[in-house]
Each structure stands twice: as structure tokens, then as C-alpha cells.
């Protein structure tokens, strides 16, 4: 699974991209975010506040209960500020 981080979240986690193989019990977006928090103190701090984390699965916005699968591209980023 390809995990991408953007903007302030990328800087706080310290990497732009990771290729990971989550355990099989990780089935949803919410499971994945919880699991990612356990990877390092930086991940835990960056992903601590759910209000500051948006998730996209395969480049579409995803809800916490949405399933994730091994080949997915999952992006985590703060609320957007374009325009």
C-alpha cells in the first residue's frame, strides 16, 4: 500500500511517501490511521488530531469506515487551503 503525506502533515511525519504492508486486520481508513499512529512518535503527533487529517483513497476523499486494500494509494493531509 502506498501512503502519501502532504503539506504540514508531510513535514511533521518527516517523509513524503511510504510503501507499507499493513496487517490483514487493517480493513478501513480509520483502522489504517490508528495503525499509522503506532509507527513512530512523529506519526503519532502528526496524526493525533482527527480534525486536522483528511484522507483520500485512490485520489478521492474517503470516510473513516471506507475499506482499504493492499494496492491502494492512500493520502493523508491537512484541510485544504487553495483558491
Amino acid at each position: 500500500m502506498r501512503i502519501l503525506y502532504f503539506a504540514a502533515l508531510r513535514e511533521r511525519v518527516g517523509v513524503a511517501e511510504e510503501t507499507l504492508t499493513p496487517p490483514s486486520e487493517i480493513r478501513t481508513v480509520a483502522d489504517l490511521v490508528t495503525w499509522l499512529r503506532g509507527r513512530s512518535d512523529l506519526h503519532a503527533a502528526a496524526l493525533a488530531d482527527p480534525a486536522m487529517v483528511r484522507v483520500a483513497v485512490n485520489q478521492d476523499y474517503a470516510t473513516p469506515d471506507q475499506p482499504v486494500a493492499p494496492g491502494d494509494e492512500v493520502a493523508l493531509f491537512p484541510p485544504v487551503t487553495g483558491g
Binding site: A8, A75, P78, T81, G83
Partner: protein, 155 residues
């Protein structure tokens, strides 16, 4: 082409002319141009401010989301043409960031669709603004007023 994400500047007048060219069903063209506001104006006695902005985006998802927003606008209003250009990369105060152009037979659809597109792209298109002024840097935080503006189009 209705959506462009690019580093380069754009020319609003030329884009507006191109949209209406050759389509005499168009009776109204509305455009919105977003500019970089100077968040660190020149200090007294100095000529130039220190503000710089960098717009980061998520290549691929950005285009996909903008195309979805344009498709939604075309479904809601009878548009003859529609264009969104959004820049990324380094920008300075006064630079153009975004252009939205809508064209329709009558003005109301063009006005409403343009407002809708700007409100929606502000809350859905994956762009992030980083502001730097020489000594400090900060990621711009999302505004709840932008969420409220976008929410008025929910139905």
C-alpha cells in the same frame, strides 16, 4: 480543456476571449481571478516586502477533484463553457493564483456557477498554501468561513 493545473502564469483576458469565441449561444461570461495578497507588506523605508508563498498540491488528485467540481457545476447550471486554471509552486504578492470562467446564455447561471466553483475548489481541491516572510514560515490554516461558503451549495 476545462481544467488546468500549472506553474506558469495565465492571461485572464485571453482566456475569457477564447471561451466565448465562436459560440453565439453565450450571452454572459463571468470570471473570478484570485491573487496572492501581501501578508508581509514592506516595512517603513524599505521598497519591497518579504512575503513569499508556495502552493503545494497533490498531482493527479487535484485534476481529478477539479474535474469533478466542474462536472457538478455543469450539471446544476446550463453552462456553454467553463474553465478552471489553478497555479502551484512559488508565488509572490500580486501574482495570479486561480482563474474561474463560466459562460452561459444568461447571466444568473454564469454568476452562480462561478461562485459555486470558487467555493467548492477552496474546500475540496488538494492545495496547501505555505507563507514565508524571511524569518518565519507557516502553513495557512483552513477557514471555517470557507466551509460555510461551500456548505450553502449543499443539497
Amino acid at each position: 480543456m476545462t481544467v488546468r493545473v500549472q506553474r506558469e502564469d495565465f492571461e485572464p483576458g485571453a482566456e475569457i476571449d477564447r471561451i466565448a469565441a465562436g459560440n453565439t449561444q453565450i450571452g454572459a461570461v463571468v470570471s473570478f481571478t484570485g491573487l496572492v495578497r501581501d501578508f508581509a507588506p514592506p516595512a517603513a523605508g524599505s521598497e519591497a516586502g518579504t512575503a513569499r508563498m508556495t502552493l503545494e498540491h497533490y498531482p493527479g488528485m487535484t485534476e481529478r477533484q477539479l474535474e469533478a467540481i466542474v462536472a457538478e457545476a455543469r450539471q446544476r447550471w446550463p453552462l456553454e463553457a467553463c474553465l478552471v486554471i489553478h497555479r502551484h509552486g512559488p508565488l509572490a504578492p500580486g501574482d495570479r493564483i486561480v482563474l474561474v470562467v463560466t459562460a452561459s446564455p444568461h447571466r444568473q447561471a454564469a454568476f452562480e456557477a462561478a461562485a459555486f466553483l470558487v467555493d467548492w475548489l477552496k474546500t475540496r481541491a488538494p492545495f496547501w498554501k505555505l507563507e514565508e516572510d524571511g524569518t518565519t514560515r507557516r502553513w495557512v490554516e483552513a477557514k471555517t468561513s470557507d466551509d460555510d461558503a461551500a456548505a450553502r451549495w449543499d443539497r
